[in-house]
Amino acid sequence: MSGFMGHEPDGRPGQPKTVKEWVFTLDHKVIGVWYLIGAIASFVVAGLAASAMRIELGSVGPDITDNGDIYNLWLTMHGAVMVLGFQIPALLGFVANWAVPIMVGGKDMAFPRVNAMSVWLLWSGILLALANLVIPDSWNGMWTGYPPYSLTDGAGNTALYSFIVVVLGMSSVFGAVNLACTVAFMRCKGMGWFQMPLTVWCVFTANVIQLIFVPVLAASVILLSLDKYLGFGFYNPEVGGDVLLYQNLFWFYSHPAVYVILLPFMGIMFEIFAVSARNDVFNYKATVWSVIAFIPVSSDVWVHHAYVAGLPDWLRLLQTFTTLLISLPFGLLMLSLTGTLFRGSIRYTGPMWWAMAAFMMLIIGALTGIPNALSAVDYGISDSYVIMSHFHYVMAVSGSMSIFAGVFFWFPKLSGRMCNEFLTKATAAGFFVGMNIVMGPLYLAGIEGMPRRYMDYQMFADNATIVDAQHWSTIGLYITFVSALLTIVTWLHGAIAGEKATSANPWGSESLEFTATAIIPGQGNFPTPVICPEGWHPYNFIDNPKPQFEPHPGTSGHH
């Protein structure tokens, strides 16, 4: 149990000790930590951009900048880095790489070398994105990159944007193939498909969605560069192209992408809810099928991003209905989450505080999504703070609070130490209250007509609701900022000086990463391959048989 991830239960060496070993590692756990470090670094950069914008918007008129290009650069960096650098890598990188292989009882990912390539592609993408802050023609066309604006010189370096998206897309696709194979082929003996933890199911499904849709995104941004630099004109109406083609292609990936984020973070919630309540997940099999149902249903919802974009009316009405249909599988997941608490025995640990807060935010975020699905209602709120507030409640706040819950949950397995419990709970409360003060008032400002992506709102200077909402929102930012900073301090403190974990299973989980490994899982995760006995289930907290191990080759006696 020496140092970070340094435990070798079977005496085999292999945990990284030098920088070279850290960088060239093929161990899925170390790669998972690399993903986590990249994600948290991205969170810090994008969070600072958000803070700068929020302070700028605190009052009417310029506060810290009057330069639209600088503000738009912050805005672009905030959106792109939060989605592509923080949320997807934290969920499909950290959770998928660190947790999933152990949860299914595998000794590593299916293709460790491909895995290492994925993480370094991600880091290349993050570094390229940071380069955008210093190059002279920095990209300011938002993470969406809509043409014709993205084809003009004003938008900056379109090639950089396309390249970053393709690099990150490759990282995602390699990671997705790898994870799907890991779940399909690396499961330990005795673990059937319906004995997998829901986190595994959610990450698996999210990766299937990635595999189907990411190539569409890559194609759409490559066409963008072909248009701008080689004059192809896919999106140029003057030579027979159509600007709406891009929006269709882009959202055909990018709305399913929100479920790529949503499903894994709900998976973390399921894990923490079930473990904290020591209770079976409500209607487990139906929940699994609801997760799978996201694949077909999410493929038919993209037009709600373009209700006001001039698409035919029949398409708007058709996709209003198909968009509303997502409430069926999603509603069942919410029902299962609440149902998991039913007759449970809930212990409010630090991770549970974060997960509970994330769940509250998800309720608000999910319900404020319903009006946005109605095309006719959308004419009044499209591209306003109503939309902005909605997706921040779901993705930004609920998503990051779940991710942080997951980090706190698996923290003892990463570092062998516990985070300070008081600080964990205090930061959860601070983040929850702070983000509600940031995003709640902005919903009301949106109803008054405040548009998104504005650096100033002088046209609404005499609207008290909007001015007050912006003011309070900025106050909420300071609370959130301090909480987020303290959260990172809590991790650092926990990793360096936290109380040593005395149990390999501090939360009382039944899942393999807690019950079948050492405090810090060593090389190969399990001393010898693990076997799930007959009747084992990750959410059976009453009479679950203990996982067994294959006899050590050295002690079997006959060979």
């Binding site: 309540a277 974009a309 001039g310 029902l335 499209s382 992506r453 100033d456």
Partner: protein, 256 residues
């Protein structure tokens, strides 16, 4: 046990019952277009649907939150070794807990869909007597040309009580014309003509903003719609057209 499986089917199909009133309501409430939407202007209609939707999601949220809070408090861990006591669901209960909630969600979806369909028809059917205005968006300016050839930037003057339809196109990048009072947004783009119509029902000025990101001065791209009485409007037209040669007016009005 053939009878038992048949019974399951019967019980299962009973769960579809809530669908029937929802469907009936759907077809009853959403004819192709209604002649008179309770006398509402389009934006009054929008407000009605908005409030109904808000009420709907508030009720759902409050019920859901109360249940969750109750569970959170009632089922705290009391003893060290205490375990959850999730009841074992029977096969019927498992199916029921999927089908019945789904039917309830679908019922609510259809209810809202019908409201939205009706509103959509109202907002997307232009009255025959609507006055046409040509709107061109550029970085970062709104240019209105009305049927009298009056050409203004970032300000549109219209008479009260007469519907107006905007025919819109962009000369450079995407823009989105949002009229705050009339609750309407529609994008402008090169290569396509889009449109939106509104009913100016109250004297005074209201804000117009751009709602699609269009570069450096996106937040500076705003204007206003000024609603005046018919007499004031006639005077305004006379004053404006006097300074414009007649030929130009006709030419620019013919453009669309």
């Amino acid at each position: 046990m053939k009878f038992k499986s048949l019974m399951h089917k019967v019980i299962g199909s009973l769960a579809l019952l809530p669908l029937i009133p929802s469907l009936a309501h759907a077809f009853q409430a959403a004819p192709a277009a209604r002649a008179d939407y309770n006398g509402w202007t389009p934006h009054q209609h929008w407000d009605e649907v908005w409030h109904e939707t808000m009420l709907d999601i508030t009720i759902l949220g409050v019920v859901f939150a109360i249940v969750t809070f109750a569970f959170m408090i009632m089922y705290r861990r009391k003893g060290h070794g205490e375990r959850g006591k999730m009841p074992k669901l029977s096969a019927q209960a498992k199916v029921g807990w999927v089908v019945i909630p789904c039917m309830l969600f679908l019922g609510d979806d259809l209810f809202l869909y019908v409201k939205g369909f009706d509103l959509h028809n109202h907002l997307r059917n232009v009255p025959a007597d609507a006055a046409e205005v040509k709107l061109t968006g550029t970085m970062w300016n709104w240019n209105y040309v009305d049927a009298n050839g009056i050409d203004t930037d970032n300000e549109l003057v219209v008479p009260v009580g007469k519907p107006v339809v905007l025919r819109m196109q962009s000369e450079d990048v995407l823009h989105s014309h949002y009229m705050n009072r009339y609750r309407l947004t529609e994008d402008l783009m090169p290569g396509r003509v889009t449109w939106e119509w509104f009913m100016p029902d109250q004297l005074g000025e209201s804000v117009v903003t751009c709602r699609e990101y269009c570069g450096t001065m996106h937040s500076g791209m705003y204007g206003k719609i000024k609603v005046v009485t018919q007499d004031e409007y006639d005077a305004y037209v006379a004053e404006q057209t006097a300074s414009v040669p007649a030929g130009t007016a006709v030419a620019s009005a013919d453009k669309f």
